[in-house]
Amino acid sequence: MAKRIYIATDLPDGVKQKFLNLSSEVKIKDGDGIVSKEQLLENVVGCHALVCTFKDTVDVDVLNAAGPQLKVICTISVGYDHIDVAECKKRNIMIGHTPGVLSDAVAELTIGLLLTTTRRLAEGLDAVKRGEWGPFSLMWLCGTQLSGRTIGIVGLGKIGLAIAERLVPFGVGRIIYSGRTEKSEASKFNGTFVDFTELLQESDIVIICCALTPETKGLFNQETFSKMKNTSIMINISRGPVVNQDDLYTALTTGQIQAAGLDVTTPEPFPTDHPLMKLKNCVIFPHIGSATVDTRTEMIMRSFYNLQAGLKGERLPFSVY
C-alpha cells in the first residue's frame, strides 16, 4: 500500500521531485494563502506522514483526523511548540525538525535586527522615503554604538552561541548568558554564566534566544522590564509569547528600556494598528530569521531526510525526542 504524504507548504522546484519520488500518494499544497485548520484536518486523513511548518498547529484534533497510521511528522523549523509532543509520544509518532542548519541565517538576521534598532535604521529608511533628509543637525538620527556594551544572551543554544561569536569583533564588552545550565561553548567568546536577574541588571543589550516552553512563556513582563537598564535594548528572535507585549509597550513608552527589536510577535502577521507598531523605538520584522534561500533549501532537505527515514520506520536523523 502506498504511503500517503501531505506536505502543508509549497516546495521550490529544485527539490519538489525528490518528495514526489517517495510515494505515489504525495499531496503538496500549492498556491498562496495560509493552510487553514479545516484544510489541514481534511488533508491529513489517512496520512502516514505530514510535512509542515511552524505555522501549522498539530494538535489532538489533527492527530485524530489523520488516524492511527500516522507515523511521522516533519516540521520545517527548529521550534516545535506548535506540535503536541506529549500526544505524539503516546501514539508513537516520530517528530523530525531542523536544528543546527538555520543558526547562521538566524544569527545574521539577529545582528541585522540589532543594528537596525541601535542605529535607528528604520527611521533612516523612512527619512529617505519621505525626502525628510536633513536638517543637518549634527546629532540627527544618531544611534548608540555596540563598542564596550555588555551583551546578555538569554538561552545559549546553537543560535545564542552563533550570535555571541559574531558580536565579538564589534568590540562589545562582556558577553553574559543565562539558562538552565552552564555551557562549555561559552569559552569560545569568554562568556560568563549568570542568573537571569543579574543578566537583566547588567546588560546594555538583551537578546532572547531561548525556546518557547511553559517556563519561558511571558518571561519578559513588567517585573522583568523594571529590572533592566533604562538605556537597554531588547531583541527577541525566539517566539512572540516569550514577551508580554502590553508590558513591553509600557516599558518602551515610560522609559523603562530604550528600544526593542522583534522578529517574532503575537500574533503573526502583526496587525497594522497594534500600539507597538506606532513606536519609533520598536523595530518589527515579519519573522524572517531563517529566510535565506540557502537555509530554507537546507531545511527542506533535512525534512526530506527525516521523512525518508520515518517512512521506513527508521530513527530520524534530526529527531525531536
Partner: protein
Amino acid sequence: MIQCNKSNSRVLVTRDLPTEAKQLLLASGVQATIRYDENKISKEDVLQGITGCHGLLCTLNPSIDKEILDAAGPNLMTISTVSVGFDHIDIEECKRRNITVGHTPGVLTNAVAELTMGLLLATARRIREAFDVIDSGERCPRKVLWLCGTQLSRKTIGIVGLGRIGLAVAKRLHAFEVDKILYTALSEKSQAKEVDGEFVDFDALLQQSDIVIVCCALTSETKGLFNKSAFAAMKNSAIFINTSRGSVVNQEDLYEALTSNQIRAAGLDVTTPEPLPTDHPLKKLKNCVIFPHLGSATIETRNEMWTTAVRNLIAGLNNEPLPCPVY
C-alpha cells in the same frame, strides 16, 4: 582643557557643536562665531562669515574651494573638518597658502564599520521589503522561499580599499563564517593577515565576489570607479555596498545594473547629491536600500569627532602640530 595662544583668534564654526566640544572650544579663548541655524549652511553664508577668520571648523558642506579661501583672506591659518574624508576641501590650494588642515580619522572607524554591517544585512535580508510588508499588514503568502534573502556564510567578500574602515568591516565579517575575504588597495596590507585577506586586482575582485563593499577614499582615481563595465564584471547574484562617497559610483549605471539583473541588490549610505531628490529613480527600486549618510552617526562618535576637530583647530591656531593632520 586647551588654550589658544593668540587671544584675538577668530573662528567660524559652520554647525552647532555638542556640549563637550563646545565647552572645549569656548574655554580655549577663541572668538567663535557659531552657526546655530538648523538649516544647511550655504556657500554664501560661509563666504560672508569667513572674512578675516584665522580658523574654520567645518563639516562636509559646503565644499571649501578657492573662492572661500579668497574670501577668508590672508589671516586664515587652519581648517578643521569634522569628518575623515577631505575630498570637499581644495587641499592643493591649502598647501599653497600654508593653511594646515585637520580631520578625524580613526575615531569614527567602529561606528562606520558597524553601520556598513547594518547596511549589508539590511540589503542582503531585504529589510526594506520586510518593512513594506509589516506596514501594509500583508499576509505572508505561505511560500517557503517568501522574502528569502542572501546568507553571508560561505560567501566571498570583496573589499575595495582596505584602510582602517575596510579592515574593521573585514574583521566583523570574518566572524560570519564567510568563505574568503578579497581586497584591493594601492598596495598589499600586512593587517590583512588578521582576516586571512587575499590581495587581488580590481577585476578579479569584481568577478569572484558575492558581496562587494566599497571602503576607499574618493580621489581622482576612484571617482566613477563603479560604472557600467564594473557592474558588468560582477556576478548577477552580487550585492553591492557603498559607504565611502557617492561619487565613486555612477548612479545611472547602477540603476541600469539593478533593473537588468546585472547585480542582485545595492545598499548605499552615500549618494550624489545628499540628500537624494525625492523622485530619484534609485529610490523606487525594491533592491536598492538607501540610508541618509548615517555612517558615523552615533552619539559617542560624533562627540569624539567634534572634540578631535576642536583640538585640531586650536593646535592649528597655535601653530603646533595637529593631532590629526591631513598632510
